[in-house]
Amino acid sequence: MPKTAAVSPKTHNRTKVLLCYILCWGIALLLPYLGLKTLYPYKLAGTAPTLSPQITALLPAAAGETAALSVGTDPAALQNALSVRDQQWRMVVGAAVAAAWLASLVWQLLWRARYVHPRQAARAALRARRSYRWSMLGIGAVNLLAATALYLVGISRIADRGLWDYLLYFGGFLLVPVAAALCSRLAAPPAISGRHAYFRRL
């Protein structure tokens, strides 16, 4: 295929990089948020597990509001208690995803920062490729850890877990590594990225 673009060396692509970061990391955070906010009430309402008191004590909702679940007399109170439990559970899930997201973002940014001003580009590109693989392993581990913790804290106590449960609770942990990989491969520093290269230039 003939190449037709003119020679116009671009030393940076800051705007595209910023957009890429906003898009990838934004989606990784937005989709779990939307899932918990909009999908959860329709598909998983009332299925939240009972959290241990140590966790509920950390959450903003009053512990007394969930007491109705154990009394179980007043339907309105029961309704309210279930709603509060759902809310608390969603907060726990959101906090776990957000924590994994933040840790992954910091990790990915630290990786990128290492190669903004490399010394000897070719060698730096090879090192960046190697360290990118290690950093993806790390980010994957962080997300796996967060997902495991969430499973142990609550998901394992949900009876009759279905596809929606797994999708909604673990989806965020899958999206974060994907966002990290995309940002690394598409928004790497200009000195190690280029057309057709392992680290593509947007």
């Binding site: 060396p9 090879l126 000195a191 280029g194 057309r195 290269a197």
Partner: protein, 700 residues
Amino acid sequence: MSYYFIAIGGTGNKILESLVYACAADALFTVGANGKREPIPVLNALIVDVDAACGNTTRARQASEQYEQVRSAFAASPAPHKGFHTALSVERWNMNLARRAASVDDMTLNYRRDRLLAQTLFSHTEAGLEYSEGFRGHPDLGVLFFAEMLNNLGDAAAQGQPDEMVTTLNRMQRELDAGETVKVLLAGSIFGGTGASGIPSVARYLRNCFSNYTDRFILSAVLMLPYYDVPAAAVDETLEIAVKSSAFPDKARTALQYYGMEGMVRSDEDDTRGLYDALYLLGLPKEAFVTTRVYSTGSQTQENDAHLLEWLAARCAARFYRTGFRGSEARNMDVYYYQWHSHDVSWECFDDEAALYHNAYGGLAKAAALFLGECYPTLRACIRKDDRRLARTVNYWTAYFHDVKHYGVTQRAQLEKLFDALYRLLAFYINWLWQVLRTLPPTLRPEKEIELRGRELFDVYHALVDQQADTLRYKASPAAGLDGATPGAGDYARLRARLDELIPVVGGRTFLAVLQGEKTGRFEKLEAQRQALTEQDVKIARLEAEDAARMDPNALREEKARREGMLRAYAGMEDRLALVNADIARAVEKHVADVPATLTDDEPSGNHLFNPGAISAMRELLRQYGADSASRDRQAVETLRKALWDGFPRTVSQRVPDRVTAVQAVAGLGGGNGIGEGPQADFAGFTAALLACVMEEDNL
């Protein structure tokens, strides 16, 4: 308009080499109607040098060949690029020396009267000198040779023999017939052999050839006056012709007197007797001379370092090509001298072209730094070793050479050849820069450490000889008291200790040169004193011969007393010269010349053009790359590459470092795109991006 450059002799070829880099920098240009610089499209160069193996000629040819390979890749690709717009066609006039008389003796072998004349005009060694190694600074031999060569050109053309000069003349003729203007510039030295004899001979021949086209045939010459010294020859001058620096000024003076003759430079457009439309004279005062590293009379060993003046000669050539000499611009017909307005060497010295030279020549140096320090090892690994890991990862490979994986062996070899050409061209350029900086005139640069120590050694030795002589005289006749002064043993010991310290610093050879200099100085003083004594004797004799009654007796007494004083001084001078001679003999016996110097002169001088450290680092890196893998110091290579990367913004001297760092340059390189397909297009795309990334925006 067509442009010709005729490089005559070793110096002419050194100027040709600097013109190669001027072409790469687009420094040869005309000014268009809109005031924009338009690089001249083609420069036809002809090398005229009887010494086919001359190192300077070979270097100029090789540099031009590499340049043409790179330029033709650009020409075959639509990629826009900075520099490399002037096609350089270089031919060497093969004078068919094997079929010609090799010397004056040969030339006159069968002609008795000519032989007698030759015996009258030339010494035995001169007449026996073979032309194949040049004329060894003897233009009288060269004039004879060129007269024969040029007179026989018509016969060669009639016989249909291939001859580069005839081809060039025919091309000029065709262009003139087609109504084009032809500009021819001759360049060479007028203090050597080939240049001094070839320039006037060829110029006169060309002017006669195209005497009917004076309105469109423009002829000029760059004449190099003495600007360097050669080391003393170690040959027997009775058996072999030696080149001596001391003869340069006289030769130049004689040549200038010849050029100063009426009718040499045309007075106006209608002057049919004049030869040149413009003459450019370049030279240096004696105190600004540098001595070449090796003594050579010709052949491969004649590879003198490049000099700033050759760069300026290229600038004169550029000025000639863009100056009009006809019509309203006929006033430009003149003799031009290069005016240097400062006491150092900086970009500002290039006057109105300072920005162009800074950006273009500086850009080439920065391109070399990035290419050699960063790209070359990677590109070599990707092409030669087919390192796929690198080829998938490194941005400046993937951006331009993505298709190489589909290339066959031939295409890969073609790409490799192009990269070799770029590598060699940049290597030539860096070597040239290094030499220019190393040989900067002493008056235009700060004193080097070794020069400072050499001067101190001279002063210390001078004082030491005086001290020794005074001590000896005191020991011989303490009663005389040396005018009441007692020589200090402490001073002597101090001077001797300092001398012993300095000799290993500057080296034994420098010490021997100091001894020789001291001897020469002392000898000249002694001769002057001898002359003064003779004059004093004459004066006293005259006084004694006069009538006693008319003469003041005190005057005679005073003159005799003065003579006594002069005699004492003369004896002291003799003692001192004897001491110096004894020291020289001792130094030779002890092989002092073998003492190595801790300081070296082999470094570029301080200047305001380029960072000497960066240029030296590139040169050393080239040396390492050129070494075989067993003798290559990998640690040194890494250190040099890192130094070039870190010092990239300071490669070119300026008040503040360049805003483009090596990181930004590589980022730019990775951000470019290739245009077209095939090895030439890939290579052109990469090289164009390399130049674009390192050069400033407002250049060229």
